[in-house]
Symmetry: C2
Subunit: 477 residues, 2 copies
Amino acid sequence: MDERRGQAYHRRFSPLYTDYYEYSMTQGYYLSGKGRDEAVFDIFYRQNPYGGGYAIAAGLRDAVEYVLNMRFTSEELGYLSSLGYREDFLQVLEKMRFTGDITAVPEGEVIFPGEPIISVKGPLIETQLLEGLILSMVNFQTLIATKARRMVCAGEGRSIVDFGLRRAQGDGGMGASRACFVGGVASTSNVLLAFEESVSVGGTMAHSWIQSFDSELEAFRAYAQMHPDDSVLLLDTYDTLGQGLPNAVVVGRELEEQGHHLQGVRLDSGDLAYLSKKVRAVLDEHGLGHVKISVSNQLDEYVIESLVDQGAPIDMFGVGTRLVTGYSDGALDGVYKMVQLKGRPIIKISENPAKINIPGEKELYRYYDSGDGLWLLDGLCLARGDDEPTVLMHPDFDYKKTEVAGLKRENIRKEIVKNGELVYAFPTLLETGVWSAQRFSLLYGEHKRFANPHAYHIGVSRELFDLRRSLIDARSS
Amino acid sequence: MDERRGQAYHRRFSPLYTDYYEYSMTQGYYLSGKGRDEAVFDIFYRQNPYGGGYAIAAGLRDAVEYVLNMRFTSEELGYLSSLGYREDFLQVLEKMRFTGDITAVPEGEVIFPGEPIISVKGPLIETQLLEGLILSMVNFQTLIATKARRMVCAGEGRSIVDFGLRRAQGDGGMGASRACFVGGVASTSNVLLAFEESVSVGGTMAHSWIQSFDSELEAFRAYAQMHPDDSVLLLDTYDTLGQGLPNAVVVGRELEEQGHHLQGVRLDSGDLAYLSKKVRAVLDEHGLGHVKISVSNQLDEYVIESLVDQGAPIDMFGVGTRLVTGYSDGALDGVYKMVQLKGRPIIKISENPAKINIPGEKELYRYYDSGDGLWLLDGLCLARGDDEPTVLMHPDFDYKKTEVAGLKRENIRKEIVKNGELVYAFPTLLETGVWSAQRFSLLYGEHKRFANPHAYHIGVSRELFDLRRSLIDARSS
C-alpha cells in the first residue's frame, strides 16, 4: 500500500466499528475453548445489483488494510469492559493480530452471485471479529463500482465523472468515489479522494458563483480570466438559451482573441437532449467547435443510454446521487458465512434452497470459450489440488451439466494475506480501473445488457456437488 | 459537545472532503476582492423522502463540529498547491477560521420541503467552502432519521433496533446509526456508535455460532450458560419449527430451573407472521411467556406495518439495509443556496417554478391550531424583526392565503454559532430522540400516513412574497 494510505490519512479504523454480536460470539468461542479452531469464511453475494448480469469487485484493499492494522486502544478495551466483557478476554483482544490467510479476486474483477469472492481462513476468534467491517467495505464498494461500470457502458466512450460527494451517505463518500474509479469513471469532484489516490479531480462553478456577481456575463468573464484554458461555464442560472449561451459565446470568443480556449459549458437543468443540440449548433456557428458540452442533473445509466441513443452531442456526464448511493438498490446483499471448521466442511440449511451455501474450502476457476476467447462459465472445485473436473454441474440440479474438458481455465483468486502477512502488491487505483475495463471486455454482451441479462453460469465439480448433497441430507434427516 | 466527540475520536475531518469547485470558486472570490462580502446560504430540501409527508432534521451537530474545527494541514495545503492554487490564497486558507453565524432547527425537529433548516451567514470565502461537507452530513442523517421515524411509527410501540452496519454505505454507518436514534430506534448493533454516544447496544449470535458446534442444542446451551439472563437464540439455522424452537424450549426450561430467564428468540427467515404466532404459542405452552420474539430479514416500514396489522406477536424488529441506506431513496435532495449577498436578497431562476428559491435572510415560524394545539402550518418572514404577518401566502399563488392573526407561533430555529463561537448546548443523542418524539406528536396524523399524506403548508409573509416576485420580474425581463 502506498505511503499516504499506510498512514490511514483521514481516519483511524476502530475495531469497534462492527456489530455487537461479533464480540459476544468471539468471547463465547474463547470461553468454549474453540477460539483457536481453524475456520474458513466465504464472502459472497446472492443477487446481482440493479437487476443486472454481473458485479464488479471492490473494497478489498480497504478491508485488508483494516484487518492488518486492527488494534485496540485502552479506551476501546475499557468500553468493552464496561459492557461486561471479561478481563481475560480483553487481554486476548489487546494482543490479537490477524495470523490467517485471505484469498480473493482482485478489485475490478467481474464477479457473479454465489462466488466466494473473498475467503478468510484462520483461528475462529480472529476470523469472526472481521465480519462486520469487511462486509461493510466490500458490499458498498462493490455496489458502487458496479453502478459506475454500468454508466461507463451506457456512455459508449464518453466520460463519466463522479460529482456525488454531497449526496453520498455521510462519510461513505470516500469509499464511493474510490469505487467509482474501479468501475471506470474518468474523474471526481472529491478532493480528498484525489489527494489520497492520485486520481484526476475537477469541477468549476456553482450557481452561487454567478449569483455573487451583478451579471452573468461579468461572472463568466471573471472566471475565464482566472482560468483562461480550463473554464467550464454553467449556463442555466437564469435562462440557458436566452442568456447563458449567448454570454458563454461572448466569453468564448474573447478567450479566442486572447489566444486561449474556453474548455466547456455545463447544462444542469431542462431537457438535456434538446438543449445540448441547440448549444452545440450555436457554439459551432461561432467558431467554438472545440468547446465541450457537459451535463448533470439526476443522471443514471438509463438516462445516459437514452441521451446517447438520441444523438445528444454530449462529451461528459457528471453523475451524482444515483452513482454514489447505488440507486435504486442501496446495498449489495453480501454475506460472510462459515464454510469450514477444523477441516470439516459446514453447511447452513434454509427453506429457500438458493440460500443453502456451498460448503468447504474451494477454488474459483474461470473457463474460456475455445472459439472467441471470451468467458464461458465459472467453476468451483474443492481446494485439494486434484479436483480438476471434466464436467461442471449446477449446484442444485444434477441433470444440468457443462463439459469443460480441454477448456482453458484460470484461477481468478489471488493469495492476498498469508499467515498474517501481506503477500500481494495492490495496484494503484488507476491501474485497477484499467485492468477492470480489460476484464470486462471478456464478458459476453448478453450479460451486460440492462434488461433481462442472460445469467452467467457457475458450476461445481462432481466432488463438490456430492459433498454438498451429503451435508444437506445429513442435516435434513 | 461532549468530551469524547470533541476529540474527534475515530477520525479527523479533512477540509479536502468536499467538491473541487468549492476551492475554484473560493479562490475566485478571493482574487475578485469579494471574499469578505457577507453572504447568507440557506440549506433546504425540495421533496420529502419516501413519498412521505415530512422529514426529521439530523446531522447538524456533526456539521457544526466540522465547521468549527476546520483546519488545513501542511500536506493538504501542499496538495492544493500541486493542483495550481496560488500561494497567497493558500496562506489565507491556512489562517482561516469560521467567523460567521449558523442558525438552524435543532436535530429531531419535524421539517418540510422548502424550509431553511440551516442558514449560514458570513464572509463568502468561508461560507462557500462549507457547502460540500455540511450537505453530505445533513442530507444523509436527515434521510435516515426520517426512515427511522417511519419505522417507529409503523411499529406502534414495539422496539425498532438498528442492525444495519454491515449494509451501510462504507464509513456511512456512523452517521446512519446516529440518525437512527434521532428518529427513535431503541438500540443499535454498532459498537463504535454506542461507545461515542453512550446509547444502548445489543445483539447475540449469528448462524456461525450455531454452526461452530456439533449440534444446535449444544450451541444454545453454551451461549445460555455464558449469558443466563440475556440470551436471544437464533432459531433458523437448520429448521425453525422442527429443530430451533424445540431446542430453544429445552434451553429456556433449563434456565428457568436454574433461576434464570431466557431473554428471547430471533426469527431471521420464512414467513414472520406465521412463524411468530407458532413460536409464541409453543413458548407460552411451556411456561416461557416472558421470552420475547424478535425478527429480522429485509424489514421496512411497510413490512412492519403489515406484521402489526396481522397481529404477529413480535416484540422487537431488527432492521438493517432498508433503514441505514434510506431505501428506496438513497439521498435527500438538500441544497445549499445563496439567498443574500452584502445585504441584497438573491434569487435563482429556473424553468421549473418549484426550483426558484425564496430570497433573503428569513425567520421560520411554526403556527399552532387554536383548537387542539397541533401544528397548523409554517410561515417564513423577513428577518427584520417587524415582519409579523396576519396572513400567510402561498409563495407562488397569491390567491392562496391563510389567516394567522392571533395564532400562537414559535420561531423553530435556534442560534447555534454566533461570530464563530458555539452558543448552543447540543443535547445528548438520547435527549434528542426523546425530544424528537415529542415534536412528532404535534403533527396531525394526515401528514404521517405512508400513502398520499396530506401536504403540510408553508406560507410566506406579504413582504416576502412581494420581494420574491420583484426579483423574479427583474431577472426575467
